[in-house]
Amino acid sequence: MPLSKNDLDAILLTLELASLTTVLLLIIGTPIALWLARTDSWLKRPVGAVVALPLVLPPTVIGFYLLVSMGPNGFFGQLTQSLGLGTFTFTFTGLVIGSIFYSLPFVVQPLQNAFEAIGRGPLEAAATLRANPWDSFFSVVLPLARPGFITAAILSFAHTIGEFGVVLMIGGNIPGKTQVVSVQIYNHVETMNYAQAHWLAGGMVAFSFIVLLALYGGRNARMRAL
């Protein structure tokens, strides 16, 4: 196997990062998506725009602002320091936070669309059938929004696997902690280890292709079922 220990660690780390980010994003993104789908408040548009920012901003911009704000002179860094947690740059936690920002719209938007598609009807029906808001969320909204959740999870996972710019800015290239696959490929190119770069990059292409195949295949199956 032409992959070194660092390479394997990078792969493992990347998978951990993507999984953790996806889980956290589903938890964080769901209430945001729900609010965006339901609200009539004037805040809806600005919040929607903020959520969509990571779609258009270069990842290095996100990374740069994270670097500054998570550092000891930044707002977030000072907050974490005052809580005795130190700063999050160069840590896996920092990467998770960065990834959450980076992949946020990939979770919120499919969920928001799914919730909007459900409409008010089923929820009102549920209320007239004695379901309180929590109950109707779990018994009506979740099942009906399931395709949206699956799309959100897959997109978030795949997108985080490919994350580079953000990690580059705040990672520090620490093996086992912040040295993810994309950075490792960059390292190999930098040091002219093209063979290893090929192995890792090729692997990523294959993985992404399979993920997208599953996503689209699944969607077609789901659409046929309707």
Binding site: L67, V68, M70, T89, G172, N173, I174, E190
Partner: protein
């Protein structure tokens, strides 16, 4: 050996005689040489009438791009091995390689009170993060590791090391405060002959292999008079003054 000389004489002649056929030269410049290059560019353009298109980045990346057809005319590398390799592989104009600067390593902190001109703080080890450039890809990073080894600190600081992809990023980590201190290029924190901010320990030359930074004319720039002009300018007195003011030494 005579060819480049003939070329340069011819080019110089053309320039002085015709008073400018303005050519363009695309230069790939190592990240650590950013500040001096930014100072040299307007002076060069004014003196020769040629236009300079500069890209800053990591030497390793430039190598990969050049080998895959990137349209650079001249490379100012951060090391001497990359230009040599390019020459060996026939991607550069033979004989055009020369050392344009000798890099100085400095241990630097954005905090003006952190370092006292010695390596005391480094030895004390009270910091959480020490920033260096990736030693596999950047000669300044390699030099930093040499210094740490020389001081016997390699093992103790290992857990606190954070690597920037290039010397610019290594500097960024320190300047944003995320790393309390780091090994950066002297040119990044030196201006007009003195430290522009923060505090530092200028690492004695004896502690690391000299960082010879070589430049070379690439195949693409072989018949580009502006490329030749640039090389000549870099060897000249005006450039030398600028280069030294940023803390580099000259060969």
């Amino acid at each position: 050996m005579l060819k480049p000389l003939k070329h340069s004489l011819l080019a110089l002649g053309l320039v002085f005689a015709s008073g400018a056929i303005a050519d363009e030269v695309k230069v790939a410049v190592a990240a650590n040489f950013t500040a001096p290059m930014q100072a040299i560019t307007p002076a060069f353009e004014k003196a020769t009438g040629h236009k300079l298109l500069v890209s800053f980045g990591a030497t390793g990346q430039f190598y990969a791009q050049i080998r895959n057809g990137a349209p650079y005319d001249v490379l100012l590398a951060a090391d001497d091995t990359t230009p040599a390799r390019l020459e060996r592989e026939g991607a550069a104009v033979p004989g055009s390689r020369f050392t344009y600067a000798i890099g100085g390593l400095v241990l630097w902190s954005a905090d003006a009170s952190y370092l006292d001109g010695t390596d005391a703080a480094l030895k004390a080890g009270q910091f959480r993060h020490l920033s260096i450039a990736n030693p596999k890809a950047a000669p300044y990073g390699l030099a930093a590791m040499q210094v740490l080894a020389k001081q016997g600190l390699s093992e103790t600081v290992k857990a606190k090391l954070v690597e920037g992809q290039n010397i610019t990023q290594a500097h960024q980590f320190v300047s944003s405060g995320n790393a309390e201190l780091g090994f950066v290029a002297l040119s990044q924190v030196y201006k007009d002959g003195q430290l522009s901010s923060g505090s530092a320990w200028i690492v004695p030359d004896a502690m690391y292999d000299p960082i010879r930074q070589d430049a070379v004319i690439l195949k693409q720039g072989a018949n580009n008079p502006a490329a030749v002009a640039l090389v000549e300018y870099l060897k000249g007195p005006e450039a030398a003054k600028v280069i030294e003011s940023f803390g580099y030494k000259l060969p």
